[in-house]
């Protein structure tokens, strides 16, 4: 959403609450002029003010930027693989709603259907039956172009084996998704990539090739890459499967930070340590999804 729309959204929400610009300014401890500027789209509130503003207007940070509740809704979602007359029910009637700003951990034995579920959530695969809605849109009805668009703009993937392009430097790997996103101006792409590397504390490694980086560092580059187009949804399938505990901790902390910044983060992990960082811990068994621990 651009600055104008955010301005209109603030103005709308303020009017819903029946408060004037002056009152809002007072509550926020800023000048009335500042509020007026926000609403006319001339300026954005500072990051420090943003949280306070969301609290006052009773909206989530994500809503603030996207204007609508951004969530994933699964109902009776089922995925069946058919192999030589043999039916494998990888995902079995899963009904669940993922909400933004939260870090979800999915645990479970190998073969329980976690990856299959993530692939469907990331629109890399389609369910056999049931419904999957992204922001209220049914994915099964979308064509290839629309799915590409969703992957480009809304989803960031992180894989166990990082999948970095060995011919590209760190910042170039991070730039990769921006090539197909015209909303990011061409001259801003490199700067943005460097900023994202800073976000994962790799600013001093920006010019290195993947083979010159440790596994943990490579995974952080991959995380930065997944953030390139500022997606709402981050999906990570066993991101720390190849990493030691120290690196695992760094990665989990980044996921926590992302959730705090309003992203919806879903992490499949075999590591018990994820529990300390997750808002919600889910588990899968034989394709069924259950809630282990919430809040």
């Amino acid at each position: 959403m651009d600055q104008n729309k955010i301005g209109m959204f603030i103005s709308e929400k303020r009017k819903e609450l029946n408060i004037t610009q002056e009152e809002l300014a007072e509550l926020m401890n800023v000048s009335k002029n500042a509020v007026s500027k926000w609403e006319r789209g001339l300026n954005l509130p500072d990051a420090s003010l943003m949280k306070n503003l969301c609290k006052i207007l009773n909206i989530s940070l994500n809503e603030f930027f996207n204007g609508e509740e951004n969530n994933l809704e699964l109902s009776e979602l089922t995925k069946i693989f058919e192999k030589k007359n043999e039916k494998i029910i990888a995902v079995d009637h899963v009904t669940y709603k993922f909400e933004p700003g939260k870090l979800y951990a999915i645990m479970g034995h190998s073969g329980s259907g976690k990856s299959t579920l993530l692939n469907i959530l990331g629109t890399l695969d389609k369910q056999t039956t049931g419904e999957y809605k992204i922001n209220g849109k049914e994915t099964i009805k979308l064509n290839d172009n629309e799915l590409n668009y969703i992957r480009r703009k809304n989803v960031g993937f992180i894989f166990q084996n990082y999948l970095l392009d060995p011919n590209l430097r760190s910042y170039e790997n991070v730039m990769l998704p921006m090539f197909v996103n015209n909303e990011i101006k061409k001259d801003e792409r490199k700067t943005r990539a460097l900023k994202l590397l800073e976000y994962v504390n790799l600013e001093n490694r920006f010019n290195h090739y993947p083979k010159e980086l440790s596994g943990g560092e490579q995974q952080r580059v991959a995380i930065a890459r997944s953030l390139a187009n500022n997606p709402q949804l981050i999906i990570a399938d066993e991101p720390t499967g190849n990493l030691d505990e120290k690196n695992e901790k760094i990665i989990f902390e980044i996921f926590r930070k992302l959730a705090n910044d309003g992203k919806l983060v879903i992490v499949v992990s075999h590591s018990d340590n994820i529990v300390k960082y997750a808002d919600v811990v889910l588990y899968m068994k034989n394709g069924r999804l259950g809630v282990y621990n919430e809040g």
Partner: protein, 435 residues
């Protein structure tokens, strides 16, 4: 990387090691294809010349030995013999044509007699009808020049369109009255005589009436034709001479005239028949062009077969190479799909990379080919006993372009087919290790 275009990704991929191996295969293939085409081109040109056009291939020289003129005239009775004349007509009549003198290069043309069946193809104007008329090549280069290696060089900008010269005339002087230095003459005496001759000689004016296609005839671009009669008139009968002195310093000199016969057979395929008849009649003879079609065919077919085999191997290699490369890159392809690249964008990235490699290989291959072809050319000419620079065997550049276009199309087709196959897979299968 600036982030302007997806092709920046292709450029980055260029430095992969496997591309170097791929390039080497391609360069080899290109060179082999060029050379094979060159040889085929040469063979076709050459066969064409031998079978239909070249007079030399159908010409035998019959030595006089102890035979009389009457006996020699008998040769005309042999079937398929279409010409039986003095071997003088094999000689050439060089003329320093002042008409074509330029600041840095002198005019210089050579006359041949227009024998029957010379295989001359008139391009402009008409053929000779009177003795004072001549033919010149359509691409006329009335000069002779050699480089430091003794190779004949032609300055392309000095080639004249023969057509423009029709109606003009060229002055020539008969060689017959040309004074010959006798053995008792001093050089100064001879010079005096010579200069006097130069002053008093009368020019013969010959009119250009037509141009012929010199490219099909293996002829130099300064070779002109005059009538048999005029040739006889201007060309000296003396073929050479020797002088020998005794110990008492008494010297004798001996001048040779053209005494042998030049026999032309109607078609190349009848040459053996005529040779056989000549043997029966006890004549000794030798061919003008020592040409053996069998050897020639072998000479051409060996490189052709080798070229064909290497081409097939190379094309298979290219196919397998692309397939292997894309198999190794399946995760990369899968990744690009997860990042929201559409199918066309993914195909474009890889075909761009492929096209850059192929184009570069094409240029390198072409340079190497140019070096090799010089050597091959020499090998063919020497082996076939042809005059070194008398035929152009390089394949036309347009064929080279067609060849590379074909190669690009082929490899892009393979590439595209493979990528589409991978894109049809489930992304998670591509990224995982199940493939």
């Amino acid at each position: 990387m600036k982030g302007n275009s997806i092709y920046e990704i292709s450029y980055k991929h260029l430095k992969e090691k496997r591309n170097i191996i791929f390039s080497i295969i391609i360069v080899l293939l290109i060179i082999v294809l060029y050379i094979t085409s060159t040889i085929i081109n040469f063979a076709l040109q050459y066969q064409n010349n031998i079978n239909k056009k070249s007079l030399n291939a159908r010409t035998l020289i019959v030595e006089r030995g102890s035979k009389t003129d009457e006996e020699l005239n008998q040769i005309s009775n042999i079937n398929h013999v279409v010409l039986n004349v003095s071997d003088k007509y094999r000689a050439q009549f060089p003329v320093s044509a002042e008409e074509f003198d330029e600041k840095d290069i002198k005019g210089n043309i050579v006359f041949n007699p227009l024998l029957i069946n010379n295989g001359i193809k008139i391009i402009n104007g008409r053929t000779i009808e009177s003795d004072y008329e001549i033919l010149i090549p359509e691409e006329f280069y009335p000069h002779v020049d050699f480089n430091d290696y003794g190779e004949e060089v032609i300055y392309l900008d000095k080639i004249i369109k023969g057509k423009d010269l029709i109606g003009k005339s060229i002055k020539v002087y008969s060689e017959r009255e040309h004074p010959v230095k006798s053995i008792n003459q001093s050089w100064s005496e001879y010079d005096e005589l010579y200069n006097k001759w130069i002053e008093t000689r009368t020019p013969i004016s010959l009119t250009i009436v037509g141009t012929y296609d010199s490219s099909v005839n293996l002829l130099e671009k300064n070779t002109c034709f005059m009538s048999l009669k005029m040739f006889d008139n201007v060309k000296s009968d003396i073929n050479g001479g020797t002088a020998s002195c005794t110990q008492d310093n008494i010297c004798t000199e001996e001048w040779f005239k053209y005494v042998d016969r030049m026999i032309v057979v109607d078609e190349y395929k009848n040459l053996d028949y005529v040779k056989n008849e000549l043997n029966n009649m006890n004549f000794s003879y030798y061919p003008v062009l020592n040409f053996d079609m069998g050897t020639f065919k072998m000479l051409v077919s060996i490189p052709m077969c080798v070229g064909l085999i290497i081409s097939i191997i190379s094309i298979t290699l290219i196919r397998n190479f692309i397939a292997k490369k894309l198999y190794n890159k399946r995760k990369e392809i899968g990744l690009l799909k997860t990042l929201g690249f559409d199918n066309n964008q993914i195909i474009n990235i890889y075909s761009k990379e492929n096209n850059i490699i192929l184009s570069t290989c094409f240029i390198i291959g072409f340079i190497i080919y140019m070096i090799i072809v010089k050597t091959i050319k020499y090998y063919i000419y020497v082996a076939a006993e042809l005059e070194y620079y008398s035929m152009n065997i390089e394949i036309p550049f347009i064929y080279i372009l067609l060849l590379i276009a074909l190669l690009l199309l082929l490899s892009n087709y393979i590439l595209k087919k493979k990528i589409i196959k991978y894109l049809s897979y489930n992304v998670s299968d591509l990224i995982g290790d199940s493939l």
